[in-house]
């Protein structure tokens, strides 16, 4: 065990190395570029024994990962924003073909207006692709989520691809100390992948990805749905194992913070969680009963975990960095769906879009509005644009 100071992008590149990805195919895009640069160094310095294909586009990078994964090779890629959008078509193919590819996505604004800063409008629209989707709070979690991710994705009862979001610049280009686990411990935790089912192998010929008539498609869809449902249990178990092995307890699909006697819960995803913890501590010092629910996974949505929290709090405030116009943020929508029939107000806060800073003062404002909603739900707008001129 050794602590190293690194950027989130370096942690993502390192995750490909420690998980012993066998094939890496990628295409550069800001702010993911450091990932492909560092992986190039690892491979060309002989530190990482992998086939690394410098793709001519993100579409090809994902196609290559599908080609390599179907032969049974652990496959890795990384992208961001427009690059992810360019892969869109293939994401919906990788999941039903049950190819457990892992991908780091540096969450960046999806144009227009064109911008390179943090937003979740790139990954959130891919929520229906069948990919497991997780979000890292800090650079340590960027590294850890890949180790955890392959273990979840490659589980026989799951076999789904997984993407992990890390915030553009806030994580990707910011250095933090990261505990780098010993390689032999990672190897023990995450053994070599062995493809047992749909695979391309001349010694055992089969057809993968065939043209399929209506008599069979429903069953394929249901199987993908079941696999996603199965992943919840697997994620809970893997995070337990992870805590035992590496000493960091991520609790499962969500992390609770000071929620035991809380009256309101702030729901966060990604790096804003760290800032929010500070505010929660400040408010607690003032005697305000506030807590935090960090969603580590957005797909599968942690319905059971959210409902458990709904049993004890009087209101939820949700920070959303992506918008489904007029319908609010994507997390807000899933919270509403999960809590249908629960009489707990949910308030949505559109914040941090396009990479705008979310300072502690804004988070305090959100908590204040949520506390107001807990007392009088009708006194609060359901969707609130924070720190937006003209609102």
């Amino acid at each position: 065990m050794v602590f190293k100071v690194m950027t989130g992008d370096y942690a993502a590149a390192l995750s490909a190395k420690v998980t012993r990805a066998q094939v890496i195919a990628a295409y550069p895009i800001t702010p993911q570029t450091l990932i492909v640069e560092h992986i190039s160094e690892f491979v060309d310095n002989g530190e990482l024994d992998a086939e690394y294909i410098r793709a001519e586009s993100e579409h090809s990078a994902m196609s290559m990962c599908m080609g390599s994964q179907v032969t049974g090779a652990r496959s890795y890629t990384a992208t961001s924003s427009q690059g992810l959008a360019y892969m869109h078509e293939l994401l919906f193919i990788a999941a039903p073909l049950r190819l457990p590819i892992y991908m780091a996505v540096v969450n960046r604004t999806l144009a227009a207006p064109i911008a390179i800063w943090n937003e979740f409008n790139d990954t959130m629209p891919e929520r229906d692709s069948g990919w497991i989707q997780s979000y890292a709070e800090n650079n340590q979690e960027v590294l850890d989520m890949a180790i955890e991710g392959y273990k979840v994705a490659e589980n026989d009862n799951v076999l789904l691809p997984m993407m992990t979001g890390l915030d553009a610049f806030i994580l990707s280009h910011t250095v933090e100390p990261v505990d780098v686990p010993d390689q032999d411990i990672v190897d023990k935790f995450l053994p070599k992948f062995k493809a047992k089912f749909g695979k391309i192998d001349p010694d055992d010929p089969m057809m993968v990805g065939s043209f399929t008539p209506p008599e069979y498609i429903m069953e394929f869809r249901k199987q993908t749905d079941t696999a996603m449902e199965n992943s919840k249990k697997v994620i809970r178990e893997v995070t337990k194992d992870f805590a035992k092995t590496f000493g960091r307890n991520y609790q499962g699909l969500v992390e609770e913070y000071r929620l035991d006697d809380a009256e309101v819960a702030l729901v966060t995803v990604g790096s804003v969680t760290s800032t929010s913890r500070e505010v929660i501590d400040d408010y607690r010092k003032e005697g305000k009963k506030v807590g935090l629910l960090k969603l580590r996974y957005f797909r599968p949505f942690p319905v059971e975990e959210v409902r458990k929290v709904a049993e004890k709090v009087k209101a939820f405030g949700v920070i959303d960095k992506s918008v489904s116009f007029v319908s609010g943020g994507n997390i807000y929508q899933d919270m509403r769906a999960a809590l249908y029939g629960y009489n707990v107000p949910i308030v949505d806060f559109m914040a941090g879009l396009g990479g705008r800073d979310i300072p502690t003062t804004d988070i305090k404002k959100m908590l204040d509005i949520t506390m107001k909603a807990a007392k009088d739900p009708k006194s609060v707008k359901p969707i609130n644009w924070i720190a937006t001129r003209g609102c």
């Binding site: 294909i53 080609g67 390599s68 994964q69 179907v70 032969t71 010929p205 069979y216």
Partner: protein
């Protein structure tokens, strides 16, 4: 420069009786594409993995739960054949599995148009894969729409015979030339109606290393509107007229592999095909001029001049 092994020339007797692309598939009668798949698999053998994009071959060869493939067969999407097979090769290599023929078989639309970016990338990286385009000169699977590979004047459903304009206004895109300029180890044009020439080229492609590109002329009776018994004849007339040329480029050395004994007028070739039946004399002249230029390019100027009408 990558070495290309010198293969022995195959004869029909050298081909295995076993079919790895079997009967029972649902291709139209006289389909050139299915002839290519069958012939190619006889040369490549069992130690092969095949990918094809969305195209006729996908539909007539692998509609779930049936399959005509006795080798592993993979499909993902339309525009990424060269990229997926690059990944398959990398996957095998990463697991220490050498010697597998990784083959992509794609149509002309999936190659010349939407798949060209991936194809160019693969050629530039010199991926160790075999890419075969079966050229039926239109998007046949979606119902005969024009592609970059459709010849001048041809009717398709998107180049209809209208009252103002009739047929395709552009000439056929020369993909083999573009790929040859990527300086890959082996490139060949072939046709399903010239089986000995095709076999030799498949064998060379199989034994070479690096990126290998074959473009195989594969007539489509359904899309071209000709008698299903005439697929081979269409190939022969295409080559004899100069509409198609059989050549290879091996480590940069270009060689015509079959030279027609006599040049036939392009009109003889297009006449049996319904897709050209609206062609006016002026248009036929324009097509003949295009053909003459190509003829001169591959067979020399004097031959072309001697056969001018």
């Amino acid at each position: 420069m990558v070495d290309v092994a010198k293969p022995k020339r195959l004869t029909i007797k050298d081909l295995p009786i076993e079919e790895l692309f079997t009967k029972g598939h649902t291709a139209c009668a006289g389909c050139g594409g299915s002839m290519l798949a069958r012939t190619a698999m006889k040369v490549f053998g069992k130690n092969t993995a095949v990918y094809s994009p969305a195209c006729c071959l996908l539909v007539f060869g692998s509609t779930y739960p049936l399959s005509s493939w006795k080798v592993p067969y993979f499909h993902v999407a339309f525009e990424n054949t060269a990229a997926v097979i690059a990944g398959m090769r990398a996957g095998f290599k990463a697991q220490g599995r050498e010697g597998i023929n990784v083959v992509g078989i794609a149509g002309d639309g999936g190659t010349a148009d939407i798949g060209f970016q991936a194809l160019s990338g693969a050629a530039e990286r010199n991926d160790d894969t075999i890419y075969i385009m079966y050229d039926n000169e239109a998007y046949m699977n979606t119902g005969i729409q024009r592609s970059g590979s459709t010849p001048y004047g041809a009717w398709t459903t998107t180049t209809p015979v209208g009252t103002v304009r009739a047929g395709k206004r552009e000439f056929k895109k020369d993909i083999p030339r573009l790929i040859a300029d990527h300086e890959i180890p082996y490139l060949a044009t072939a046709s399903v109606g010239h089986p000995m020439d095709l076999l030799a080229k498949l064998e060379k492609a199989k034994n070479a290393k690096g990126f290998r590109y074959l473009q195989v002329f594969a007539p489509c009776p359904t899309g071209w509107k000709f008698d299903t018994a005439l697929t081979v004849k269409m190939c022969k007339m295409a080559v004899d007229s100069g509409m198609w040329t059989l050549y290879e480029v091996e480590n940069g050395v270009e060689r015509v592999t079959y030279k027609p004994k006599q040049k036939i007028p392009v009109n003889d070739y297009i006449k049996p095909q319904g897709r050209f039946k609206h062609m006016t004399e002026d248009k036929i002249k324009e097509l003949q001029a295009w053909v003459d230029k190509r003829w001169a390019r591959y067979y020399g100027q004097e031959k072309s001049a001697a056969t001018q009408q």
